[in-house]
Amino acid sequence: MTAPPDDCLARNEWICGDYLSTRRHILLDAVGQHLQLTVLSVLIGLAIALPLAVLARRWGWAAGPVLAVTTVLYTIPSLAMFSLLLPVYGLSAALVVAGLVLYSLTLLVRNILAGLRAVPEDTRQAARGMGYGPVRLLLTVELPLALPAAMAGLRIATVSAVSLATVGAIVGFGGLGNLIYAGMNTYFKAQVLTASVLCVVIAVAADLLLLGIQWLITPWTRARRG
């Protein structure tokens, strides 16, 4: 008979190097799923939010209802949102993605619309005077000027999606949330802490990445100050 191992896993310590080395694959899989869920939902959210915001800007009457619906969606707690989608998607990754899309959509529509509305009327008039049609005006004047506000929304939406994806553990597709959920049921401290810290690391990394992208694609915001 061998003596029970006396390592940090056996002692159930919060911080445990052995956990990292022995469960590396589980952690990497969970991180992979977490990133997939987040990236997919934010991209789909962006693809829906952009036209919605542009339409709401074009037709003033549409802005009220669009904003009202997004506010209602955003007020619904994440666990309830995922549960309401259960009859449609069943226990699947699509359910989690759909829920996260609805939240990102809300944040993105509000921010893009705010950005478009903040474009000075003089600027629009000037572009029209130079013979810009509506499409060219939108693509080369309005959208670039709305970028800082839109990127702020994108950063909030991404960070929120990273955090909310953990709740997907209720249907078994929560990325790192799955590890937190399993760790809770077995009182596995190292697993819960490691997965939680990784969530925050992903959120911060995504935020910095988007900040970097914004810096690269909006050179004009720096030129003025420099």
């Binding site: 007020t75 549960s83 309401l84 909030i156 939680s196 969530c199």
Partner: protein, 221 residues
């Protein structure tokens, strides 16, 4: 559509409303958790924010704490607290987590509200010989009230959502109906619970909407 009628039948069955696992009991828990934690959070956050805003110090902290709060998953914090000694006293982890997530929006909004008070008004008040305390209570705080109330509203909605997730970590409240539904593999119960949570959250939002519409009238009287 079948699930919807099943969920409706679940909701209209009076047996599901009575008892310790019943809707009334869970609704009561949810309401008490939300209100108690909102009061605790306000008592912690507002004095700090009002004083910092009045002095104009600690702005970076007060503004950035909201971003930090967003990056930390509520579910992770609930489970982490559950595994600490706090987990031994019943709703302890839920209350602590709820307060932790309600404080950032309160702090940020109240601080920004205080700083956005027109500086000319502040200088005029000082010129009239107001002390710092009078300035804070009679000028800055009343003018910052819309922003402060906005923060309370965000915090309240956040509290309702966090209290729901608390059910995943064994906390009480309406979320328990959803988690119990998942454990029973009963989609109607899951949907019924979700509808109750959503309606509750929207009602909370509506209460603040009404309160905010009534508020400005006091200021302009």
């Amino acid at each position: 559509m079948n699930t919807l009628t099943d969920a409706w039948n679940w909701l209209t069955d009076s047996a599901h409303w009575a008892g310790d696992d019943g809707v009334w009991h869970r609704l009561g828990q949810h309401l008490v958790l939300t209100v108690v934690c909102l009061v605790i959070s306000c008592l912690i956050a507002l004095p700090i924010a009002l004083v910092l805003g009045h002095l104009g110090r600690g702005g970076a902290l007060a503004v950035n704490i909201s971003n930090v709060g967003r990056a930390v998953p509520t579910f992770a914090v609930l489970v982490l607290l559950l595994l600490t000694p706090i987990g031994d006293w019943g709703e302890g982890p839920t209350v602590v987590a709820l307060v932790l997530f309600a404080v950032p929006p309160l702090l940020t909004n109240a601080y920004v509200g205080m700083r956005e008070v027109d500086r000319d008004v502040v200088r005029a008040a000082r010129g009239m010989g107001m002390t710092g305390r009078q300035l804070l209570w009679r000028v800055e705080a009343p003018l910052a009230m819309p922003m402060i109330m906005g923060g309370v509203r965000i915090a309240a909605v956040q509290l309702v959502a966090t209290a729901t997730i608390a059910a995943l970590a064994g906390g009480g409240g309406l979320g328990r109906i959803i988690t119990a539904g998942f454990n029973l593999a009963s989609t109607p119960q899951v949907v019924a619970g979700a509808v109750l949570v959503a309606v509750f959250a929207l009602l909370v939002e509506a209460v603040f909407e009404v309160a905010e519409r009534l508020l400005p009238r006091r200021g302009t009287r």
